[in-house]
C-alpha cells in the first residue's frame, strides 16, 4: 500500500538574486511522521520552511503540503497547517482562554467547536482555574505547551515547529515532546527544527541541510550507522562542518 504523503518536495529552489538559499531539495514526509529538519544557522532551513508554509513562492521546483500546491494553493495550505516557533506563539496580554478563542476564530472553527476545544485543552494541560490568567504570567514551559496545543487547535494535517523548545528546562522539554508524540499518534504530521541533537533522535526521520542542499535524510539510527557515529550530534557535526558558506 502506498503511504499517504503529507509533504512532497521536488527540486524545490529559492534564489535571492545570485544567492541560492535553497538548492533543489527533494524529499517526502509521510502522514503522521515526526520529521526533523536540521541544519546549521544559514543552511536554508527557514527559507525552505517559509516556502512549505505558503509564505514565500519558490523560484523553481515543485512541492505539495497536505495535498495542496505551494504555488497555486498557498491560502489553502495556511488553513491546513499549524505553526509555532519560540519567537512567535501567543499573545502575552490575552488570557489563556482568549488566546484559544482567538486562534480558534482565526482558523475558522465554529463557536461551538471553540467552546469544546477550550475546555478540552484546559483539561489536557491541567490549567483548570487558570483560564483567566494572562499568558504573560505563565512560566515559559507552560507557554510553549499551550502554544503547541493552540497551533493544532484546528486539527491541521501538519504542524511546523521552529525550535519550539529553546531555553525550556529539561523536564518541560520532555513533557513537550510527549505532546508531540501524542499529536503524531492522532495522525498529525510533525515537521520540527531543533538545535538539541537528542531531540533529533526522537524523530522518525531527519534531514540535514548543508549550504541549501539536503545532504542526508534517513532515520536517526540509519544515519548513525552510515556515519559510524554514536549520536546525532556526531552525525550533525560531520555533515555541517563541510559547509562552505557561512550564514
Amino acid at each position: 500500500m502506498k503511504k499517504e504523503k503529507a509533504i512532497t518536495a521536488k527540486n524545490l529552489t529559492k534564489r535571492f538574486g545570485d544567492f541560492i538559499a535553497v538548492d533543489k531539495i527533494t524529499f517526502d514526509v509521510e502522514k503522521g511522521e515526526i520529521f526533523g529538519f536540521l541544519g546549521a544557522n544559514g543552511a536554508g532551513k527557514t527559507t525552505a520552511m517559509r516556502m512549505l508554509c505558503g509564505l514565500s513562492l519558490p523560484t523553481s521546483g515543485s512541492a505539495t503540503v497536505a495535498g495542496f500546491d505551494v504555488y497555486k494553493q498557498n491560502e489553502l495550505i495556511k488553513k491546513n497547517i499549524g505553526y509555532m516557533s519560540q519567537r512567535f506563539s501567543l499573545y502575552e496580554d490575552l488570557t489563556i482562554r482568549e488566546n484559544i478563542q482567538f486562534y480558534g476564530g482565526i482558523y475558522g472553527l465554529t463557536d461551538e467547536r471553540i467552546k469544546e476545544k477550550t475546555s478540552l485543552l484546559i483539561k489536557q494541560l491541567h490549567l483548570e482555574g487558570k483560564e483567566k490568567t494572562l499568558v504573560r504570567a505563565l512560566p515559559l514551559g507552560w507557554k510553549q505547551k499551550l502554544a503547541f496545543s493552540i497551533a493544532i487547535v484546528h486539527d491541521p494535517a501538519i504542524v511546523f515547529l521552529d525550535e519550539p523548545t529553546g531555553g525550556v528546562d529539561p523536564i518541560t522539554r520532555r513533557e513537550f515532546w510527549e505532546l508531540i508524540y501524542e499529536a503524531s499518534e492522532r495522525g498529525i504530521t510533525i515537521f520540527v527544527t531543533t538545535h538539541y541533537m537528542d531531540e533529533a533522535e526522537y524523530c522518525n526521520r531527519v534531514s540535514v541541510m548543508v549550504d541549501g542542499r539536503i545532504d542526508a535524510l534517513d532515520s536517526p539510527s540509519n544515519l548513525m550507522k552510515d556515519y559510524a557515529a554514536n549520536s546525532m550530534d556526531e552525525v550533525f557535526l560531520h555533515l555541517a562542518r563541510k559547509a562552505v558558506r557561512s550564514e
Partner: protein, 306 residues
Amino acid sequence: MQAVVVENIVKTYHTQKTVVDALKGISFAVDKGEIFGIIGPDGAGKTSLFRILTTLLLADSGHASVDGFDVVKDYKQIRNRVGYMPGKFSLYPDLSVQENLEFFATIFDTSIEENYDLIKDIYQQIEPFKTRKAGQLSGGMKQKLALSCALIHKPSVLFLDEPTTGVDAVSRKEFWEMLHRLKLQGITILVSTPYMDEAGLCDRVALIQKGEILSINTPKGVISEFGKPLWAIRANEMFPLLNSIKENQSVESCYPFGQYHHVVFKTQENSKELLEQIAQKGNYTQVEIHSIEPNIEDCFMALMKE
C-alpha cells in the same frame, strides 16, 4: 584571589500584580582564570545575576564583588575591568563592524591596535565584513563582533550571558573553542547557558533553577553526586514503552534521552529484572537494556525534583 564572590544575593521584581523572586539568596565564588558555567533554563535568574555582577542592576540584599571590588561601592572600577556580552544583541546596528569596535575601544581609552592580539583570533573571521553595518550581520557574525567588543579593553573578567542560545551545534563547538583559548590568556569567564551538554566544557558549574542554586561543583563532581544506578532502555515502540515504565510503582523517574529512555528505580535491587519484566509484559520488540553513567542533564532533572 577570587575573581568573583557572590554572597546571599536576593533580587525580587514587583510588577502590578505579581512578585517574581528572581534570585533567592544565592552564593558562590569563582577562582581567577576559571571558566565558570551558570547552567539553567529561562527564568532561572541567570540574566539578573549577570546584571548585578556587571553593576547594571542593584540587588535587594546580599554582597558581591568582582576582582575584589564591591558591585555597589566600586561600580566604576568594575565597569573598567569587566567585559559583558548580554544575551540580547546590544551593539549599534547603524554603525559598521569596525566603527562598533572602535567605539568600544575609545570608550575604554584604548585602541584596536593595542589589544589586537587578544581579539585577532575572533575578529579575523569578521574582518572581511568590517564595513558592513552591524545590524545587517548574520547571527553568528553578530556574536563574534559582540565578543570582540567585550574583549577590546582586555577585561580581567568576562561575563557572557547565553552566548550560544539559538546557535547551531557546529557554531556552538567553535564558540567554546574560542573561550578555551581566551582562558589561556588568564581571563576569568562566567558564562551562562541553557544547554546542559555545555556544562562539561566548564571548569566548574552552578546549576540554577528558579533563583536557587541546585549544585556547585566540577562537571565530574555533579555527576558523582547522582548517587543512584541509572538504566538506559530502548525498544522499537518508544512512546508506549515510556508510558509503561512511568506507570510502574517501583520507578522513580523515566525520561526520554535521544534513542533511549533513562530510568531510575526507587529501590536498587533487581532493577534490571524489573525493566525486563516491564518490557516483556508490554510485548516490546528489540529491547535493549544496559546501565549507564548519568550526564549533567540527568543530574539536573534529579535535582529539580528534590
